[in-house]
Every structure is written in C-alpha cells, then in structure tokens.
C-alpha cells in the first residue's frame, strides 16, 4: 500500500500544475473579457488578396 504515498504525491503535484495554470491565465487577463472572444471566433479571416491578372 505504500504506493499510495507516491500516488498522492503525483495527484497533489498535478493539482498544483492546474493551480499554476489558473494563476497564469488570471495574470494574462484571460478572464477579463469573457464575451468578445466568443464572437471573434465566428468572424472569418479574409482570403488573401490575389494579384489582379493583367
């Protein structure tokens, strides 16, 4: 059963990684605007303009 020590260590480490990821996202301002990106993703990029043939 001593494998539990290792497993708990892993799970805590993983949880800490997620916590770190959340902190990073928070500091990056990803939670400041929760609406606009949902619209932005639906807007298409324009096709690259091709040179008009002469």
């Amino acid at each position: 059963m001593s494998i539990i020590y290792f497993l708990i260590g892993c799970s805590v480490l993983l949880a800490l990684v997620f916590l770190g990821a959340f902190f990073w996202a928070q500091r990056n301002g990803q939670h400041e605007d929760l609406y606009t990106p949902s619209v932005r993703i639906l807007l298409d990029d324009e096709p690259e303009e091709t040179e008009p043939e002469k």
Partner: protein
C-alpha cells in the same frame, strides 16, 4: 423575396434607416445621408465590405453633428488619455458607445486595413471599449480618433477618462484567493475521506500522513486566503467596533489552532475540511456580492459627462485647454451640444441652455447677457462665449455632487442587519465560550478547552456571512429585471422600512410634453400674440405648452417681466399690462373658473379678464396602481401646480 427587394431600395444600406425622402446612391446601394455614404466609401476602398455581410445594416446613423477633436492635439491632454507610449508605439483605450454587434467588433479589429499605422485593436464588447495600439511616428492620437469618427465609431472621451486612472488600482486578488482556497479545500476533502469511512488498525500510518498533509493544506488557506478576515477584524477592533468579521476570524483561528493541536499530538483528525470549506465559501460569497455590485453599480459622476477640454479664447486665437487648467477670468467658447464646464457669465451669443443633467427639466432655459450660467448645462443653438467665474472644481454642480449629503451617508446611514446584530452576537458568543470554559476548568482541563473551542467553532456566524451576499445579490438582480436600480446593496435592507412615498409629478406620473390644451379665451389676434410673447419668456412647463399652442405668432418685446414662482407672470407688452397665471393670481371672480378640477391658466390684459386655458395632462399607464399603495404608505406628490389634482 419581393419584400426584401423593396426593403433594400428604401432603407439605408449602412444604418437601416428609412430613406424614402432623400436618397443618395452609390454602387447600386442606397444611403440615407452623406455620412453613411462616406463610411461606406471608406470601407469599400479598404476592402472591408465584409462589415455588411455579418449583420444587416450594422451601421449607426451618421447624420448627427460630429464633435471636434482639436483638443487631442494638446500634448498635456494626450498624456492623460493614453495608457502607454514610447517612441515606437502607443496604446490607448477608448470607450465607444456605438459598439453593438459582431460587425462592429470585426471592423474595429481590422482598423489596420484602413490605416497600416494602427498595429492592433482589440474590442471588449461588454465594456464597449477598444484597445488600440498604433505607431507613434506615423499617426497621432488625433488622427486615430478622427479615423474612428469617420467610420462611424466616435469614441466618447470625457473627463472621467483622465481622472479615473488613480482609482483603478484597488485589487485584492480575490479570485486568486478563491483559487487557492478551492484548491486546498478539494485536496483536504479527498484526504479526509478515509477518515470519514474509518481506517483499519493496520493502516494507522496513513492517518498520520493524511493529517500532516491536511495541516499543510490549511497553511495557505490561513496565511493567504483568509488574511482579509484577520486584517478586517483587527482594524475594527482597534477602532473599537465589533463587526461580523471578528467572530469569523476568531472561528477560523480557533479551528486552525485546534486542528494543528490534534494532528501534532496524534489525538484526532482535526477540522481541516471545515476550515478550508468555510474560508472557500465565505470568499465565494464575497465574490458574488462584488459581481452583482459591479453589474449594477452606477459609478459615473459628473466627470463622465464633462468634456476633457474646452476652447479658450485668447485674444483672437482660440485653443483647447484641459479642464483642470481653466482659470477664473478666461473666456471660453461653447458650441452647440457642448456642456458648460464651469460657472460662467454669458458674454456673447444667444444662450439656450438645457439643464436636464442638473435639474431634470429638459426644456432649454434662455439666459440673457451678463447672467451667470451654472456648470452642467448643455448649450443648444449657436456658439456662445462665456467668462469663467469659478474654477471647475468649485462650481455649483461639482459642489452639489460632492455634497455632504452624498458622502456622509457612509457613516450616517442606517446600520445593516448584520452590522447591528454582530456586536451583541460577539459579546454573547464570548460570554458563552468563557462560561463553559470556566465551568469545566475545576474538574477537567482538556474538556474545558474542548468545550471552549467547540462553542467558538459552532457559533462562527458563517451562515449569516454566507447568506447575506447571496440574498442581496438575488434581490438586486430581481430589481434589475424590473428596471429598478439602487445605489448599493445596503439600500435593499432600508427599503423594508419605507413608510412614506414621495412622487414627482411631471414625467413620473404624467407624460411630459403630451398634454391636451384647450383655450377658453375671447381675444383678438393681437391679444393672442401678446399672450404668446409673455409666455415665451417663461420656462414653466405650462407657459411652454401655451407657447406651443399659439406657436404661429412672432414674439413681441416685453418689459417689466416678473415671474412669481408657482403663481404666474406679469409683463408689459406694447403698453398693455398682462397677467398670466393661477385663478388667484389673476384675481378671477367668475364662478366657472373656480371649479379647480383641471389645471387652468388664466389670462387678463389691462385688468380685463380674457379667459383661460385648460390643460389636461395624460397620465402614465399604471398610475391607478399608485392609489393602492396609499393603504400601506403615506403618499406625497411633488408638484409645482394644483394640489387638487393629486
């Protein structure tokens, strides 16, 4: 299909307005005004016609008068507006009220197709803000703003943009604290699970291991997430106030001490799960409260309405000057639709000032030369020149806004339920805790300590602290749905104690500007003209109604004009003495006039009674509901005229 085609031909391609009367065509598209066409041409030249494909008629009508942005050339003003600047690029955030659809987002984020000097722009749709990064060498702030204005997205730049920056630093990392508390809470719950189910005798070593881990997870909760409660309790204690944070902090501290003691002495599992859960939920409650408050808060003040700069006339030149640098004695120029930023004396021009921002009365007030015009009015009509008599910070409106009545409320307001109760609660709690401690002390020390801590833990007012923010925010969101807005959450509680209701008449009970007027006068055309001339001088709503009714006349010169507030006016027109006002004021003897059931305006010329106007105002829908309130509340009506009609 046919309908759509007709629609296409009669509505503006840009803004969707009806353009049956005036149509301007370009590229087989119809526009209602030159402004809309102009926007379309700019967009089509830059290959941004996608703008029109995301939504039908995404534009905003462009026929309105455009503002002048000359003041954006002043370096001192630019410095206050921008977020960041160096030699290469500048970042600025604008509030753009016209952002309303996905096309707006698309267009504003493609500004660099119109002008490559704009590197990047990001729109925050809900805040209606655009964050723009542009090349400092190639384009100026003034050009960026004019570009936005040309494509129909005029940024609203107010004094608020300049002053706000200092106030925005207040951040207490609430989200981070919640994240840490939640992280610890989840892990502690997981590690406490074996304890709940029971650990067999062979696996006792796990019990200790889990205990140590739990204690380790409690540390960040106490040292990081929960610090706010300790700080608040301490400052309140120093100010000799017992607020709800004190028993909370005490509960948290006792929980931690007891948990640590039990784990360190191997006497039990402690309360690590309770401790982390409590702090986590308390913080979530705080977060919910703040969220609703931000959603409903009305943080705007006079600064949101004031411009950043004003045109100052300097000899013959005029130049924009930031509001803070306006000095007494300077001559300022106010154009149509501009707000007068400081108390000033009218020097030149026909001032018709709309004070709706200050008084709520939207009918413009005429001012004569030499009269003092208070700050906050909006000039309608031609440009006027004024001389500043008081600096912006000391003007009537600013003082009104910063009036003690508004600021003092913080200390003087009725205490909320939790504030009132927490004082007694804490005292009783401490009494019981120490009582039980001393009761057990002579017989059994461990039990005395255990009883003492148990009381403090159980009686920790977490229920009150948790339910208050959730209840308040639920109440506020219900009000919000019914279009009822409050200044802060504490007001919700005070609403329950209301026993008197005061209603404003004009605009609240009656619909302003929509009154039926009937004339019962026997007057010649010349006399009617005199009545019109007298009433045209007054800003009283009734006089304005009479003017509207008799609007075909030309105003004559009036002398010795005198207005008795709430009664009537007297004036001299072409040698005739005219009295307009209430029955008493005009001294009416006729029995018919004394019926007093309707609003009546009586007129006499040279002491000869001419007749009267009856004004029947339309009530708003649902006024009858007000009557039903009278059983539970005392009702009052604020009104400038007849009391009988209430």
């Amino acid at each position: 299909m046919k309908q759509a085609e007709i629609d296409k031909q009669t509505t503006c391609y840009h803004c969707g307005n009806d353009c049956a009367d005036e149509r301007i065509e370009q590229d087989e598209k119809v526009f209602c005004c030159n402004g809309c066409k102009e926007v379309y041409s700019i967009l089509s030249q830059s290959g941004l016609c996608n703008y029109y494909s995301y939504n039908q008629h995404p534009g905003v009508n462009q026929s309105k008068a455009t503002q002048r942005f000359d003041y954006l050339k002043e370096p001192s003003i630019i410095k206050d507006l921008i977020d960041y600047s160096d030699e290469k690029f500048t970042i600025v955030t604008f509030y753009i009220p016209d952002i309303h659809c996905s096309s707006c987002i698309w267009l504003l984020e493609h500004l660099n197709k119109i002008n490559p000097a704009i590197y990047q722009s990001r729109v925050d749709f809900l805040r209606k803000q655009a964050n723009i990064r542009f090349d400092t060498q190639l384009i100026t702030l003034h050009e960026v703003v004019s570009l936005l204005d040309r494509i129909g997205y005029e940024p609203l730049i107010s004094l608020h943009d300049v002053v706000k920056k200092q106030a925005f630093d207040k951040k207490d990392n609430l989200v981070k604290k919640i994240a840490v508390a939640g992280f610890c809470f989840g892990n502690v719950m997981l590690l406490s699970f074996p304890e709940y189910l029971g650990i067999s005798v062979y696996e006792q070593s796990f019990r200790q291991f889990f205990g140590w881990l739990n204690l380790a997870f409690c540390l960040p909760v106490i040292l990081y997430s929960g610090t706010g409660y300790f700080k608040s309790a301490w400052t309140n204690l120093r100010n000799k106030v017992l607020n709800i944070d004190f028993p909370l902090a005490l509960g948290i501290a006792v929980l931690f001490v007891r948990t640590a003691a039990e784990i360190l002495t191997h006497t039990g599992p402690g309360f690590a799960d309770t401790l982390c859960g409590l702090v986590f939920f308390l913080l979530v409650g705080k977060f919910v409260q703040r969220k609703t408050y931000y959603h409903l808060s009305f943080e705007r003040d006079y600064r949101s309405f004031f411009p950043v700069a004003v045109q100052v006339i300097d000899g013959i030149n005029e130049r924009p000057v930031p509001l803070a640098e306006i000095q007494v004695g300077q001559r300022i120029l106010i154009r149509n639709n501009e707000i007068i930023p400081a108390d000033a004396i009218l020097l030149k021009g026909d001032a018709r000032v709309d004070f709706s921002f200050v008084t709520g009365e939207s009918v413009p007030v005429s001012k004569v030369l030499g009269e003092v015009v208070y700050a906050g009015g909006r000039q309608t009509g031609e440009a006027i020149e004024l001389e500043v008599v008081k600096p912006v910070s000391q003007s009537y409106l600013t003082r009104l806004w910063n009036n003690e009545a508004f600021t003092r409320t913080q200390e003087n307001r009725t205490k909320t339920f939790s504030e009132k109760i927490s004082k007694y609660f804490t005292i009783v709690l401490l009494l019981i805790a120490f009582g039980s401690f001393f009761l057990w002390l002579p017989f059994d020390l461990p039990r005395a300590i255990s009883a003492f801590t148990a009381v403090l833990i159980i009686a920790c007012p977490c229920a009150l602290a948790l339910s208050t923010p959730f209840t308040m925010s639920a109440a506020l969101s219900i009000f919000d749905k019914n279009f009822f807005y409050l200044k802060n959450t504490a007001v919700v509680e005070q609403l329950a104690h209301i026993d008197t209701i005061v209603l404003d008449k004009t605009g609240t009970i009656t619909i302003s500007g929509d009154a039926a007027i009937t004339a019962h006068i026997t007057a010649t055309e010349a006399e009617r003209q005199m009545i019109y001339s007298v009433c045209a001088n007054s800003t009283h709503p009734l006089s304005q109604l009479i003017c509207q009714y008799l609007n075909s006349y030309i105003k004559l010169n009036t002398n010795s004009y005198y207005e008795v507030p709430g009664r009537g006016i007297t004036a001299d027109v072409d040698g005739h003495f005219i009295k307009v006002g209430s029955a008493k004021f005009v001294d009416v003897m006729q029995a018919e006039a004394l019926s007093a059931k309707k609003t009546e305006v009586h007129v006499s010329i040279d002491e000869r009674y001419i007749g009267y106007f009856t004004i029947q105002q339309h009530y708003r829908d649902g006024v009858s509901a007000v009557q039903s309130l009278s059983s539970s509340y005392r009702l009052y009506l604020l009104s400038g005229d007849h009391g009988v009609r209430a």
